[in-house]
Symmetry: C2
Subunit: 448 residues, 2 copies
């Protein structure tokens, strides 16, 4: 694999050899130029930006970090701003404007053409994480009365400004979506075939208000290259392309990782997030879980008599609570992930419960047996203690796995986010249960 190394470019910039920079730049991919520019000083970045080939400046700009975008927009002339904003795809322009301070937004919009300004304003109104907010306004549209030759002519004429032309959408005079035809199908058809006869009319489309996660699931299911987005009147307003969806897939998985580790989700890469922001994302959940930890401690406190009489009992507590928590988070992780991938729905509640019950019996027996053997070797003669600890372990695994498997589904049923029922919370819940069971067994069988 040959990822381009832009360290040389950096050296040229530091040596102020901008002539060489200008000569070298075009050989790099847009994403790599942006990565290189993101590392430059604010003063150099504007110089390099002006060295970019005209037709690639907007594309490189769309890959830059928001900080650099803002810096550049503040430093360049109104005319240059106008040129970028007209060249950017509307969705990229909207993404970028969303993050800017109001004064800069005003200046950018003032320099856009009225048509572009209207389109951008419309995009800015779609709720975040909706299909509308990730779609592209530039798509290839055809009429059903065209011949294949007409279609090719139209695609040729308009291709330059489209993000993709490979799936064409057939619309009527009111822009209502009537069908879809791929360029591959056009290649395979006769020059004078009529679009109406070759288009697919059974079109799967998203609405602007659909959740981006549901749209991503459609892409994964059908291997789409792009998906049409329609408004309430079934008018085509945009398309979503596979590359936007790849970002959504990454983003949604990252969000789940964060939530499942008890953090407020953040879209910024770790290294670009400040210490203060990181701390803020983590503190609330930690506080909440600290309090639940205190409750678990209070439960333990209720059995003070038992462990003062037999202090060794306390030494089994970490093993019991750890194992219960781990058993539970295995189950909750699988179920949360399965629900995110739409492999598991709340209708499967019974199946999941039975599966986890089965697994927990098997796993609980194995762990209980291993533990029993270990205890009668370490504490020969203390059979009853070995029985109590192993029995408590077995029941803990049972509770851990059934709670871990079903609580995320219950969360979903009451419209909460299943991901909150992940390891941290499951662990605390199971800890409390494990302690109560353990000391009940202790009181019943050991301290009679």
């Amino acid at each position: 694999m040959q990822i381009q190394d832009w360290r040389d470019l950096e050296r040229l910039v530091l040596a102020k050899d901008f002539k060489s920079v200008k000569a070298e730049l075009p050989a790099f991919q847009d994403a790599d130029i942006a990565a290189f520019m993101d590392e430059l000083s604010g003063e150099h970045v504007v110089i390099v930006f002006r060295l970019l080939p005209k037709d690639r400046a907007a594309e490189v700009f769309s890959y830059l970090s928001i900080e650099m975008q803002e810096h550049i927009v503040r430093a360049i002339t109104d005319q240059e701003v106008a040129s970028i904003i007209e060249q950017l795809f509307v969705d990229d322009a909207a993404d970028f404007l969303e993050e800017l301070p109001a004064s800069v937004v005003k200046r950018v919009l003032r320099n856009a053409s009225p048509a572009t300004r209207d389109l951008i304003n419309q995009f800015l109104q779609y709720p975040p994480y909706s299909a509308g907010s990730i779609m592209t306004a530039e798509f290839a549209d055809l009429k059903k009365t065209m011949t294949v030759a007409d279609a090719f002519k139209r695609i040729r004429r308009t291709a330059l400004d489209k993000e993709t032309v490979y799936t064409c959408y057939v619309i009527d005079a009111n822009r209502r979506l009537e069908g879809v035809v791929t360029v591959k199908e056009l290649f395979l058809a006769d020059e004078d075939a009529i679009i109406r006869d070759i288009m697919e009319t059974n079109v799967i489309a998203a609405r602007t208000s659909d959740d981006q996660e549901d749209v991503a699931a459609l892409f994964s299911r059908y291997d789409f290259l792009s998906l049409p987005v329609v408004d309430e009147e079934n008018r085509l307003v945009g398309i979503i392309t596979f590359d936007d969806i790849m970002q959504v897939i990454h983003q949604e998985a990252t969000e789940d990782f964060q939530k499942m580790a008890a953090m407020a989700p953040s879209e910024k890469p770790y290294l670009k997030t400040s210490v203060l922001a990181l701390a803020k994302n983590r503190i609330l959940w930690l506080l909440f879980l600290m309090i639940t930890g205190m409750i678990v401690g209070a439960i333990l406190g209720r059995y003070e008599e038992a462990f003062v009489a037999l202090p060794i009992l306390v030494t089994f507590v970490p093993m019991l609570t750890d194992t219960g928590g781990n058993a539970g988070s295995q189950s909750s992780t699988l179920v949360i992930r399965g629900m995110a991938l739409k492999e598991i729905t709340t209708k499967d509640f019974g199946r999941v419960f039975l599966k986890e019950l089965g697994v927990s019996v098997l796993v609980g027996l194995a762990l209980g047996a291993a533990n029993f053997v270990r205890l009668i070797i370490t504490y020969p003669g203390d059979y009853m203690m070995a029985v109590v600890v192993s029995l408590a372990l077995f029941v803990t695994v049972l509770i851990g796995k059934t709670a871990g498997g079903t609580l995320p589904m219950l969360a979903k049923i009451v419209k909460a986010d299943p991901a909150i029922m992940a390891a941290p919370l499951i662990t605390t819940i199971v800890d409390a249960g494990a302690l109560i069971i353990y000391f009940k067994f202790v009181e019943a069988l050991l301290l009679k």
Copy 2:
């Protein structure tokens, strides 16, 4: 969104109205037909398979579960087998054969043409999770001496059998990759322009042995529609398309979720995995973590004297260990995910350590203060105990976050999988540390 509902089809099948089934089928997407067939009985599935339009049978087949694929192949004639295997894309055929028993594989290969057989055998040799194993052999290739018109002619002639034609690869007489040109660029070029003059020669390619995760990172970085795969001599042997990569992205994230919850990774959807297989994936890690839990218990046992003298001390243990574990897994989750997305590399070790140190000081102070206030309210007069518990909490958060942030990177440095340094193991490590610190403070400040 209009996902097609195939429940009606199911009813038609149960009513044995196969004529209607045949009439309705073509209106459904391949993936939906496969989902519908996956729910049918073995007897019905073969009937429905034979009702499929000829040109879509292979595509639908590639979406079926491996169990259904095997069932169909066992039930149909040699001639039908031959027809499917020739129509399947080579990578789909190889994926399917990989899972079959040897006797069925033999029968399938016997019915394939020699050329197809050779290609499939070559694909079967690529290591799992390599670029070679996910690539497609069918791609559009051009020569640099062609005109744009020639190129279009060639694409038209060969499009039917290609998975994608939108990115064309320019190769020399020895099949060495010389450049790449998109159909969009061809649309925008003159009919008699020469490919050599419009192709991009700076091509990013993968090698057959590259890891699929690295390939996925390239796709996300550059928004590729497809990526060429070359062998050791830079000869083009296949391409990877965005839809294969979407699957890889899902699969790698799922694998990380599983590993980070202390399970052996499995590719099968949860509901299709047997109880025994689920138990097997979970038991080894649970056993290992149970043993580490015993070690933590033994550490606790060393301070028996302390908690028998002051039993209330034990009630703070769950809060301390839980908070330490949670603080640590927040950090390890972010770092593991950041490394998976290539946002963090081992070179960032120092930066991550400092960031986590900073975060842990802020979070530790906040949690310690909250805890201190709570303790002097609940146990008025017991100032020293409040100091000891809060101090221990502060240090525990410090250890949790710095260990959580750096251990995954250390794992990577010693070529282990960073994902093993996730919540379960981090929790145990931090638990041990937290207990030792806590009782050291107790011994030094409370039990003098």
